[in-house]
Each structure stands twice: as C-alpha cells, then as structure tokens.
C-alpha cells in the first residue's frame, strides 16, 4: 500500500536550536499514527512542516507517493491535510456556523452549511449546535467545532495536536470513538501527544521524538508504558516517593459551610463547602471540569471574597474576609491553572514575575523595588527547581509550559507558605516536568505544610494525594482516604450529584448520538 504521507529526512533549525533532525516517518491510509514526545521534542515544528505552516530546511514530503513541491497551508487543504490546533482558532463573538463559514471557500450560505454541520456532527458523534455563540461553548465543545470544521472538508489526513489536554475522561473516550470511525473510513490520523496511556489505547503505530530526533518507532499496543517513556525521556522516570507522614494536630486550613453564588449564568455556585487540610498531607479535589473548581480556587485564594470571616480559617485565624494579598501574607500560597496571564505576566521577565508575589521577601523598600534582590531570588528559583531558562531576564512567555510551571511553583514554595493551593499542577506540562512538579508537592507536604491540589486528572490525584474530595455541581463530597477508595467510587461521586440541568440535557444529547 502506498503511504498516505511519507517524510524523508526532514530537518529544521531555528537560531540556536535544531528543532527537527533528519526525521522520517510514514503513515498508511486509515492508520492512526502517534507522534510522541515531551514538550520541546520537536513535535509541533514537525506538524507545522507537514501542514505547510512553516518550511523545512531540508528533506522530502510525499503525499500518496508524490512529492509535495511548493508547500503551504493552501496546498495542504488541496491535498486533504487538515489540522486541529491545540489552541483553537475560533472567534468567540460569532456563532459556530459562522466560524465554519469563514474557513470554507466560496460564497456564504449559512443555512445550507448549518444543515451540513448537523449531518457531520451526528454522523461522527460530535454533538454541536451550529447556531450557538462560540462564547458559550465549553473547551470540549470548541474542540468538536474545530474537528467538524476539518471533517467538512473530507480530509485524507487529520492532524491533532494534543487533543485531550482539554477534555474530561468521558469526552476523551468519545473523541477516540470518532477517531476510530474516521480511521475505519480510510482517513489517516497523526496524533500528537505526550500521554502514553492514550497513545497505547488508540494508536496503531508510534514515532517517538526526543530532542528533535526519532528515538523509536514501535507498535504502542505491544509496547509497555515504561518502554515508551524511556524512549521519550531518555531515562527511567523517577518513582514517586510517598512516605507516610506526621499530620499536624489541628488543620492548617479549614473551610466550613462556605457558600458562594455564581457570578454569571455559565458559572457554578458553591454550596456548603466543608474541607480541611492538615500539615503534612496532600489533599486532592477531583471532579469533571466546570463543576465549581474555578470558583472554589477563587474562594479559597481570596480572588473572590464571598464569605464571612469564619468560613475560611487559616491556622486558627479567620481569613474569609481578607483579600488574596492579605491571605498570601498570612501564608496561603496559590498557583492558578493558567500560567500565562494569571500565574505570570507573559511579556514580563522572570525577575519581574518573581516580584509580583515574592515582594514579600523584602524586595520592596519604601515603595521601591529592589531589582537586584529580585534577580537573586529568581536565580535561586531557576537553579533550585531546575527551570530551563537563560536567566532572570527571560520573558515568561518564552518558557515552555513545564518550565514556567516549575518556576511559578518554585516562586510560591520559596515564600514558605503554610498552605499551598495548586490548580491543575501538570496541565499541558511534559512528562518529565510533571513528575518533578508532583515530587515537589510531595516534598512540600512532607515538610509539614498542607497542600491542596485541584486536578481533573484522576491518575495524578491517586499518585500523590493522601485524601481526596470530589467536587460536583459546586458541592464537595465527604473526605475519602486514598488507600480506601478507588477510581470507580470517585467516578460515581463525580457523576452522582453532578446533575445540573444543562449537564443532564447534554448527557441525554450524548446518549442520543451514542446509540
């Protein structure tokens, strides 16, 4: 069989970096082919070259056996290559069908297009309403729009860049069904990921990249995760060290009967939240995305003050009425899930970003910032938390997700918080950095601090937490000891009370498509 896509010796270098070094791979019609690698391994560059968004320095691209001469996104579309980006190129202020119309050639016929969108979305189990504003869609729904947009062009090769990083476990399962169906119909799929389990479950073959080179070509169905990880990382992943620890006698943080009304109709209201975190433990908060995690983080960190002083108690001191800055002063650290824009200011240097919260370490005197101190502190964080950055004056948005996360975590931990609240600690972070971040959290808790982790990745929570709560529809479950519970129980709790009307409707809708 002629391969749908064949790469021969693709190379690409950027100033100072060899992003792709002599890469070859081939994808057969109907094959789901994984490109595995850590962030920075050269996956994204390779995909851009295949899609024609950036030219290669050398090498050949063959499509259906013929060489692609002058490449570009327009050529790709003619060849039937479509790409679903990790960060969607959707416009929020217009409807789904208008978004799709913008990327279709020729005259605009919104009504006809809406019919086609419905057909495709039904056929592939990707329920979307073409007339809804993108503004009101969840990330998962937005991804469906992107995929439907590609499918409308009847692609021969579909490229997906880290498609599951924004999805719930259920949504991932549904996406896989869709992809398998496409593959059965003969559409080839290039699946870019760093999640080993997914690749092993879905893909027929895998090309592993490390440092811009191919380090392995395997059948992921018959290769163990450990082997795949070794090819990706180049060494064995460190085992998590989770030693039992001494708990503090009183909780460092306790939340008692906290209620907070939602700010908008798309948000979730929190109802009688009760939670305790003792020094020496990691407490996890599991739940399906959009069940009040964001609101809970805002309420505990003090970004939103919606409670009486006594609702939140930090080391015996009521703090519910204090703002985020005052709570930080008292030792409540917070690492939000959005690194760029909330955890750090993207165009600012690392040392300036350090100042934003670490000014508490005496970097400000008489209202003036002491830049040298900030630089020293930043250097210290970079060294201690092995952040890959060229120095304290590196811009935050120039760092990879994993390195920026290590920097932000380091910045907060160096402030020696009594309680550290972390939201989605390893979201979009490569395997190596994720393991590092988790170990850092464990070490912090073992030094007698309380750590609260809000995460949508159950595996992660089971790996590092001592106790778990499940958040569902703005309410928190009883506390569960990790050693006495299992994924099934947590899964039931996630779904049990999580019957917001909208969700129920959505599930009914999903069922309809599933049948």
């Amino acid at each position: 069989m002629t391969p749908r896509l064949q790469l021969r010796g693709i190379s690409k270098s950027y100033p100072g970096v060899l992003a792709n070094d002599d890469i070859s791979l081939s994808v057969l019609p109907g094959e789901i082919h994984a490109v595995l690698g850590e962030n920075g391994a050269g996956k994204s560059t390779l995909m851009k070259i295949i899609y024609g968004a950036t030219p290669a320095d050398g090498g050949q691209i063959l499509c259906d056996g013929r060489e692609v001469p002058e490449h570009g996104p327009a050529v790709s579309r003619e060849l039937g290559i479509e790409m679903v980006y990790q960060h969607f190129a959707l416009f929020e202020s217009i409807t789904v069908v208008e978004n799709i119309a913008l990327s279709m050639p020729g005259r605009m016929d919104l009504k006809g297009l809406a019919v086609k969108v419905r057909e495709v979305s039904e056929k592939y189990g990707l329920p979307i309403d073409p007339d809804r504003l993108v503004l009101s869609l969840s990330v998962g729904e937005r991804q469906r729009v992107e995929i439907v947009r590609c499918l409308l062009r009847q692609p021969k090769l579909l490229i997906l860049d880290e498609p599951t990083s924004v999805l719930t476990p259920q949504a991932v399962r549904k996406l896989f069904e869709t992809l398998r169906k496409l593959s059965d119909e003969g559409c080839s799929i290039l699946y870019i990921s760093h999640k080993l389990d997914e690749v092993r479950e879905l893909c027929h073959s895998a090309t592993v990249l490390r440092g811009g080179r191919v380090t392995g070509e395997t059948d992921p169905r018959t290769t163990t995760s450990a082997d795949l990880a070794r090819m990706m990382v180049g060494s064995d992943l460190p085992e998590m060290l989770l030693q039992p620890s001494e708990l503090s006698t009183a909780p460092l943080l306790s939340v008692d009967n906290l209620n907070m009304a939602s700010e908008s109709h798309v948000g979730t209201s929190l109802t009688s939240i009760r939670l305790e975190a003792y020094g020496g433990e990691i407490v996890g908060i599991a739940g399906v995305s959009g069940n009040g995690q964001g609101e809970l983080a805002a309420a505990i960190s003090g970004e939103r003050i919606a409670s009486a002083a006594e609702d939140i108690v930090l080391e015996g001191r009521p703090v519910g009425h204090l703002d985020a800055g005052r709570r930080r002063d008292l030792g409540l650290g917070f690492v939000p899930e959005e690194r760029l824009g909330r955890g750090a200011v993207p165009p600012y240097e690392l040392s300036e970003n350090a100042l934003l919260t670490a000014h508490r370490k005496g970097m400000v005197k008489h209202g003036m910032a002491d830049r040298n101190k900030a630089r020293d502190f930043t250097m210290q964080v970079i060294d201690k938390y092995s952040v890959k950055a060229h120095g304290p004056d590196a811009k935050a948005h120039g760092l990879s997700g994993g390195n920026l996360q290590k920097f932000i975590m380091g910045r907060e931990i160096e402030l020696s918080p009594k309680v550290l609240l972390v939201s989605q600690p390893t979201w979009g972070v490569d395997v190596g950095a994720a393991a590092y971040v988790r170990q850092t959290l464990i070490d912090l808790s073992r030094s007698g601090r309380a750590v609260i982790v809000i995460s949508e990745e159950l595996e992660e929570l089971f790996e590092i937490c001592d106790r778990l709560y499940v958040i569902s529809n703005g309410a928190l479950s009883q506390s569960l000891n990790r050693s006495e519970t299992n994924v099934e129980e947590i899964g039931l709790l996630m779904a049990a009370t999580g019957s917001r009307d909208q969700d129920a409707e959505q599930r009914a809708e999903d069922m309809k498509y599933a049948v």
Binding site: T54, A89, L90, F91, E92, S93, L102, M108, L135
Partner: protein, 306 residues
Amino acid sequence: MELFISIFVATIVAATPLVFAALGELVVEKSGVLNLGIEGMMLVGAAFGVWAHFAGLSMPVALLTAVLSGAVVSLLFGVLALTFMTNQYAAGLALAIFGTGVSAFVGRGFGSTPVEAIQPLHFPVLSDIPVIGPMLFQFDPLVYFSFVMFALVTWFLYRTKAGLALRAIGESPDSAHAIGYPVIKIRYLAVMFGGAMAGLGGAYLSLVYTPLWVENMTAGRGWISLALVVFAAWRPLRVMIGAWLFGGMTILQLQGQAMGVSVPSEVLSALPYLATIVVLVLISQNRKAMALDFPVSLAQPFRPRG
C-alpha cells in the same frame, strides 16, 4: 406643530454629519483599528469640498472630492498604524492635528464666503402631504444617502461574508490570519472607508449645513462621533440613535438660546455633548451585550507571525 416639525427636521439634518462619520468609524473599529483622527478627516473633507466648489466643479464632483480627500488623508494613519505598526492612539491624534492644519491651509481664501448649498429635494405629491411631507420628504439628498449608508453598513457587517471576516479580524487578527484572511489589507480598506465617510460628513457641514468654510468648523463633532461609536456599543442602530440625540439637543439648545432661557449660552452649548454621553453611557450598561459587540483586538497593532 410647526415648531415640532421644524425641530424634527433640524434634528435630522444636524445629526447627518455625525451619522456619516460615526458609521465610518464603526466599520474601522469593528476591524480592530482605532482611528482617533476623525476630527481631522472631517475638516479635510469640509475644506476640499469647498475648494472644489469654488474651483467651479459641480456639486456631486465637489462631494466626491471631499470623500476622496478623506480617504487619502486616512491613508496617512493607515501607513503609520498598519504598515509601521505604530501606536494607534498616537497616529490617530497626529492625524487629527494634521487634518486640522491641512484644512486651514486649503480653506485659506474661502473663509466665510457663502456656498450655494445643496437644496432640499421636492418629490411630487409626497412632499406636499401635510405634516408628513415636510417631515420626511423635503430633505436634501445627502440625508437620504445617510440612511442608505446605515442600511448598507448594517447589511455588510451582519449579512455578508466580508463583513463576517471583518468582525472576525476585529476579534482575533491572529486567528483570521491563520485561516488565510489578509488582515492588513482588510484593515486598510476599513480605514479608507472610515476616512471617506468622515470626509463626506465634513463636506455636509461646509456644503449643506452651514454652508460656508470656517476654520475648525466641525467644532468637536469628530470627537463626538468617536464617543458615539464606543457608547453605542459598536452597533449601527445605536450609533444612529446617538447621532439623532445629539442633533436634537443641538437644536433644542439653539431654540433655548433664541428664546432667551436664563442659562449662560456656554452651558447650553455644552448640553448636546453632555446629554449624548450620559444617555449612551446609560444604555451601554449591559456588560454582557457589550462584550459580544466589542472588537477585542481594538487598537492593538497586528504583526503577522510565522
């Protein structure tokens, strides 16, 4: 009744230059570009219209001259803001000052010489209907044209693919670029359209409304147009309502001054500006609706990547 009719008619006429200028700016801002230079472009249009008139050109050609002069002078802003990606606020302010100067230079010598104004139309039968005739069918052609432009702009923005693309660019030029739309080119066209409309608005002042050339004759109408677009929450119909409100207040305060209301005339003259802004602020309180129509990339220079 007579008084009401005359106030109504005068209101519509007074609002017309604002309608042109603000509709033009609306399209510019919807594409994500903020051109603060409306005042300058209006003055350039006003001056070139008068210049063409005294050069012996016919009225339609004089108007066309004004339109072209507005579009050409807006290119100055376009080159600075779009090609050289300078700060749009600064480039717009520069255009406002530059336009004021150029208009004073071009208008030199025509100062206060009356222009033979464009006359109101007279439709057979229709114009002679009592009340309705004088209220609706005795305007000059440009007033009707302003309504045509309102309809065209609304249709373009919300019914055509090009308008959809323009709004999409206003929200996220990067995404629009990624799916293959020529962001800079479309923004240039929008800026020129805005310039042309401002030029027409200015010419309406010097060739119909006043009708003669006086330095700085726009008297802040360019700035009011800017405010109209913002407080109208980037919606064409609200822009019209705001313009009429401003026109109405202008006429009412003139009436007040004529009747000798015992309020200093300076205060009365300030009323239209104040009232327009207050009302528009009040109706733009719905933040959620605002968020939908606000061009997110407004005033941010676009650099194509990759």
